[in-house]
């Protein structure tokens, strides 16, 4: 009978060093779900650093997956720049959402301040609280540094920003500049507090999807700011990145190739980007993906296992390394047995 020969930390360590682990690592992408399987309200994953960390550690131990805790949320930016958010307390709420954007009109763009003290801005106190727990336990310390257009959408309001991309592009650039200044300040703070060698810098890129914007708009409004932020983060000495390229982004991939990253970079993809395509475009980086989160929520365990096996068969021997992962955030109420199928698939079909 085959037995795992590495702990999760050893497995992820081997992957990051470019060595082959005992099996394909698994990061299921179940942030909110971890609170529910620990019997906590969903909001605890987002509003309480101690509880969020505890639930993520316990869920990883229960399922046997390899990713450590992190703190990030898709609608980041709005709260940090002075807007309001609502933690997921209502039925069907899945994540923190912005209920009032800091920008309401064109004049607000010019007066929008970049928060002086990043440690007090929006969710940063919670994120830093979780980061300190990561550091205490010798885990990689994660920090959210974008992506800048997704942050700008939370600051401006997605719908307003879509119109401004055409009618008032200069206003979007001003906000992107302020967001980039802020994110660089965040990276500088984390580097000072934790040390660059401990950090893993995270981008969640959702608004960049080609379901919303064109590749040309990506080139104009996204690429320069990603390059600016990542260049500065690299200058600080950070060597590890985690980039979630959310949804349909096939036409953006050639631009993502131009974003400065290291070999120790995990690039995770949604169902819309074929793993084979991702492997070809990013041969040196670690590819992660892309089990359909809707399947994990809605289908039978056998279907999840089948799809996870398919992903492993495609990407297991990727030169840069491979992590089995859901294509996006798994619904918090997903059946636990379905979530476990990813670990089961890695153990059965992902052995090296």
């Amino acid at each position: 009978m085959w037995c795992e020969t590495m702990s999760s930390a050893e497995r992820m360590g081997a992957l990051m060093r470019g060595e082959r682990p005992d099996r394909v690592p698994v990061i299921p992408f179940i942030f909110g779900h971890t609170a529910l399987v620990c019997g906590q309200p969903l909001a605890r994953a987002f509003d309480d650093a101690e509880e969020s960390f505890r639930c993520q550690v316990l869920a990883a131990e229960m399922y046997g997956y390899d990713g450590g805790p992190l703190y990030a949320y898709a609608s980041a930016g709005g709260w940090e720049f002075g807007g309001d958010v609502e933690f997921p307390a209502k039925k069907y709420s899945g994540a923190t959402v912005v209920t009032r954007t800091p920008i309401q009109n064109e004049d607000d763009v010019y007066t929008l301040p970049v928060p002086e003290d990043i440690t007090k801005a929006g969710a940063l106190p919670i994120a830093l609280g979780l980061a300190r727990k990561q550091a205490e336990h010798g885990m990689p310390v994660t920090l959210q540094i974008g992506s800048p257009l997704t942050w700008a959408g939370s600051v401006i309001g997605e719908e307003r920003m879509m119109v401004w991309l055409i009618k008032k592009p200069e206003l979007v650039h001003i906000v992107l500049d302020k967001v980039s200044q802020f994110l660089i300040k965040v990276a500088e703070h984390y580097t000072k507090e934790f040390g660059a060698e401990k950090l893993m810098a995270f981008h969640g890129a959702a608004t960049e999807s080609n379901m919303l914007i064109s590749p040309k708009q990506f080139e104009t409004f996204v690429l320069p700011y990603l390059q600016r932020i990542n260049s500065r983060v690299l200058d600080l000495g950070v060597t590890s990145f985690f980039i979630h390229i959310c949804g349909e982004q096939n036409k953006n991939l050639k631009f993502w190739q131009q974003v400065p990253v290291t070999r120790q970079t995990v690039m995770s993809f949604g169902r819309e980007v074929e793993l084979a395509t991702a492997m070809e475009m990013f041969p040196e980086q670690i590819i992660a993906g892309n089990v359909d989160p809707t399947i994990i929520q809605e289908s039978r365990a056998e279907e999840v296992l089948r799809q996870a096996k398919e992903c492993i068969e495609v990407a297991k021997y990727h030169k840069g390394g491979y992590i089995l992962m859901a294509g996006c955030d798994v619904p918090p109420q997903a059946p636990p047995v379905n979530v476990f199928q990813m670990v089961k698939a890695a153990r059965e079909f992902g052995r090296y």
């Binding site: 709420s93 055409i166 919303l212 708009q217």
Partner: protein, 215 residues
């Protein structure tokens, strides 16, 4: 005086260019020329929007372009639509729709595009906005005697609401066709959950809506 073909072309072009001022001017010219306002809407403004929809489906334009086109469309509609009820030909009346993003979901770009395409297709649309609870949909559908109910969810975490809502709506709103849409959804889920229709994008949603209501 401008001929009608020229005015229709200008209405259509204004929408495609996302030019609100040009749409307003062309709509005023249509009124000044005594054109049938319904014809100006359908063969001018809506034709331009339909062309933008075609370009979107072919990957030639994206949501920002659709949104500025919709602003121009609504600028023209603001002038022409009030005149339709007074015109001899009358409006195309394809039915009454209620639309909203389900509880927990605050994303409404896609929902707003569907609303616009339904309006230009001749439906009266009642928009409940976003983060809409189940009972609010039921109350509105009963109040306006909706022929069609459109449910939107963008997030993988909120599509569950649609699954829960559907059997209740089917029981309480027997005369209302129900459509669903949003990035994580697909035809298979629509069939499994008992929706009458699914639209992958706003343009398809309008086509499916018309088919459901005329079928």
């Amino acid at each position: 005086m401008l001929d009608e073909a020229t005015i229709l072309e200008r209405l259509s072009r204004a929408v495609m260019d996302g030019d609100e001022d040009a749409a307003t001017q062309a709509a005023n010219d249509a009124v000044g020329a005594g054109m049938d306002p319904q014809r100006a809407i359908m063969e001018g403004l809506a034709a331009g929007m339909a062309e933008m929809g075609r370009l979107y489906e072919e990957g030639e334009c994206y949501v920002p372009e659709l949104m500025v086109s919709s602003e121009a469309l609504y600028a023209g509609l603001a002038i022409l639509r009030p005149l339709v009820v007074q015109s001899a030909s009358g409006a195309i009346d394809r039915g009454v729709a209620v639309i909203g993003a389900v509880q927990g979901d605050i994303h409404d770009i896609g929902k707003n595009l569907v609303k616009m395409m339904l309006e230009v297709s001749g439906l009266a649309v009642h928009d409940l906005g976003r983060d809409v609870e189940m009972d609010a949909f039921i109350d509105e559908c009963m109040k306006v005697k909706a022929d069609l109910l459109c449910l939107s969810a963008l997030m993988t975490t909120t599509i569950i609401a649609i699954k829960d809502y559907l059997p209740v709506f089917k029981a309480k709103l027997p005369g209302t066709k129900i459509m669903i849409g949003g990035a994580p959804l697909n035809q298979r889920l629509a069939d499994e959950w008992g929706a009458d229709g699914y639209g992958e994008n706003a343009m398809e949603a309008a086509r499916v809506a018309i088919r459901l209501l005329e079928g």
